[in-house]
């Protein structure tokens, strides 16, 4: 039987950036905005390399969320890659599980596991599963891939924190197409009903889903009004502007008695010109030649 540990061509060393962080300190805390932008570009490069190598996967929605995830992992989250089960860590819950390549890239660059392992994406025995698996990948909080379930999970995390008098937060990243799922709105109601200010949710509003433009497939507009009507504090930002994202995350922490939804306006495939605003790259990897072009654009 193949085991994850035997797989791949890892060289067995964590990323050089793995910090000796004290509990309670953002693991990669001190990055400047320029450094964060560079980090986002690096994550995008990983996404291209991983999906090209795997020959399958979801580059479009991974690229659109890259700045959001960068802001979280390298500035906002209180986490410690050397202790993935630290009880007081903030939890990042990837509800749009198809953006797994992005999450793996962020986890590897944070130091949860070696960067080399990223290229085993989707291989038999790899810890880099096609969609996330809580049981086998260090730092992955939730198994996902069936859409609509992360916000409910986040409610559970935030309720537990409140019961235990803890300060850690639940961050839930969702897709805009994902908002077609009924469970999302069950959770939307519940989080507000429980007055859960320990949740910050983010919608990657890239306006595209597999079958085309969201407004044509299933129109969820007016999206911000819907969340407000459900009792949420809503912030809209440019989802590719790191500073706006950080400000929004900070603002969310100060909101009391209600959950916060950050609607991040993004471009699907962001950073790779021929993938931008193309629904087809939701679940289509770049060819070797396209990957070369993409990586050049991401230099």
């Amino acid at each position: 039987m193949l085991s994850a540990k035997k797989s791949g061509n890892r060289k067995g060393k964590p990323a050089a950036s793995a910090p000796k962080s004290a509990a309670g300190v953002s693991a990669s805390g001190g990055l400047s905005v320029d450094e964060l932008k560079a980090k986002a570009k690096l994550l995008r490069r990983h996404i291209i390399e991983m999906t090209a190598e795997a020959g399958s996967g979801h580059p479009g929605g991974s690229l659109s969320s890259a700045d959001i995830v960068t802001a979280l992992y390298f500035r906002v989250l209180r986490h410690d890659p050397s202790k993935p089960h630290w009880p007081d860590r903030d939890r990042f819950i990837l509800s749009k599980g198809h953006a797994a390549p992005l999450l793996y890239a962020a986890l590897a660059e944070s130091g949860y596991f070696p960067v080399d392992e990223l290229l085993t994406l989707r291989r038999l025995g790899s810890r880099m599963q096609g969609h996330t698996d809580r049981g086998i990948t260090p730092g992955v909080e939730m198994s996902s891939g069936a859409l609509g379930q992360g916000l409910s999970f986040g409610i559970g995390v935030a309720l537990a924190a409140r019961l235990d008098g803890k300060k850690h937060r639940a961050y839930v990243l969702m897709g805009d197409g994902e908002c077609d799922e009924g469970q999302v709105w069950e959770a939307a109601m519940a989080a507000a009903h429980y007055k859960l200010d320990g949740i910050t949710a983010i919608i990657d509003r890239n306006n595209l889903q597999i079958d085309g433009w969201c407004c044509d497939v299933m129109n969820t507009e007016p999206l911000p009004d819907k969340w407000r009507a459900f009792g949420w504090h809503v912030i809209e930002v440019d989802g590719h502007d790191i500073e706006q994202l950080i400000d929004a995350f900070e603002q969310a922490k100060s909101v009391k008695g209600q959950p916060t939804m950050i609607i991040a306006h993004t471009v699907k495939g962001k950073g790779v010109s021929f993938m931008e605003n193309k629904a087809e790259y939701h679940g289509k990897p770049p060819t070797a030649e396209q990957a070369k072009r993409a990586l050049k654009e991401l230099e």
Binding site: R134, E141, M142, S143, S152, F153, G156, A160, G182, Q183
Partner: protein
């Protein structure tokens, strides 16, 4: 006549008893707490009870998030909603990641009665047994339900415990006062060498009565209480096949995917003997009084005795 208590009532009281000592217990319900009897817990421990409203899918996700944060979560609703309405949430968020969620589903089977097919879970055991990592338990009476809930609270990982709506007779106490529920270990309720009746849930009690009837006719039936459908006590099944030479399964569930479907391959693979299966045929149920419905499907002591006689005649 033995005292009658519903398994769901035992659940409600047991939760309250456990909650004081085990501060990690959190209970969720989906707007059915007076029926699932989690209202008893809610009254005593309101801080650790969350009503999720009529939103079972969300409830299972919340349960998963709480469990991932170290809580022992009991999530309750009717069996038909717990298993069917929220199947994918149970699969994705609870079973696959092996989270510590105890789905305690009341109102299993047709003994729900008058509410009719929409409220009769006749396929829940098939659905829950189909999930890797899931432990599936159907207690035979209130005492066993109470013990099963206690054991589940102490045992990490996902559970599906199916309980019943009507009051049913207590069957332990008479059999063995020191009985201890052990996951995956069938209980020999009655020894016998002519054939074995393997029953689960509230079918164990009529199976015992059927065995008494046949004893008067000179036949010695073994009765096994298969309270855990998954993991199945394969040793008990194989031993029964070898020692009694015929097996009859009895369940308040569709034949496909339930007790009979789980026992048959074990017999076929290890020691083939004549078998018969009492279950609900491949159709949806309807309204009626619990006893009328059970009778309609032959799930009575008389029905079991009749099937046992036929099986014994096939044994040759």
């Amino acid at each position: 006549m033995a005292e009658e208590i519903s398994t769901r009532k035992a659940y409600g009281h047991t939760l309250v008893e456990l909650a004081d000592k085990n501060r990690d217990i959190v209970v969720l319900d989906a707007d059915l707490s007076p029926s699932t009897m989690t209202d008893l817990f809610a009254a005593e421990y309101p801080d650790r009870f969350f009503d999720c409203g009529i939103a079972e899918q969300n409830m299972m996700g919340i349960a998963a998030g709480l469990a991932a944060s170290g809580k022992t979560v009991f999530a309750s609703t009717f069996a038909v909603f717990a298993s069917g309405r929220a199947y994918d949430q149970v699969r994705m968020s609870i079973a696959q990641p092996r989270l510590n969620v105890k789905i305690v589903a009341t109102h299993g089977g047709i003994s729900v009665g008058e509410d009719g097919f929409s409220h009769h879970a006749i396929e829940d055991l098939a659905l829950m047994c189909s999930l890797p990592n899931m432990t599936v338990v159907v207690p035979a009476d209130a005492n066993e339900a109470s013990q099963a809930v206690r054991v589940a609270a102490e045992t990490p990982g996902p559970f599906y415990i199916r309980l019943s709506r009507p009051k049913t007779p207590l069957i332990y106490g008479e059999v063995d006062r020191d009985y201890r529920f052990v996951i995956g270990r069938a209980v020999t309720m009655r020894g016998g060498a002519d054939a074995t009746v393997i029953a689960t849930g509230i079918m164990v009690e009529p199976a015992l009565r059927a065995a008494e009837t046949l004893a008067k006719e000179g036949f010695d039936l073994r009765v096994l209480n298969m309270h855990t459908l998954k993991p199945l006590d394969e040793d008990a099944v194989v031993t029964a096949a070898k020692e009694t030479g015929a097996i009859l399964t009895v369940e308040e569930h569709l034949l496909q995917g339930g007790l009979g479907s789980r026992v048959a391959p074990v017999v076929a693979k290890n020691h083939p003997v004549p078998m018969a299966f009492m279950a609900i045929e491949d159709r949806f149920s309807s309204s009626g009084k619990p006893n009328e419905l059970l009778e309609q499907h032959g799930l009575t002591a008389e029905g079991i005795a009749g099937q046992a006689r036929q099986l014994l005649s096939r044994k040759g």
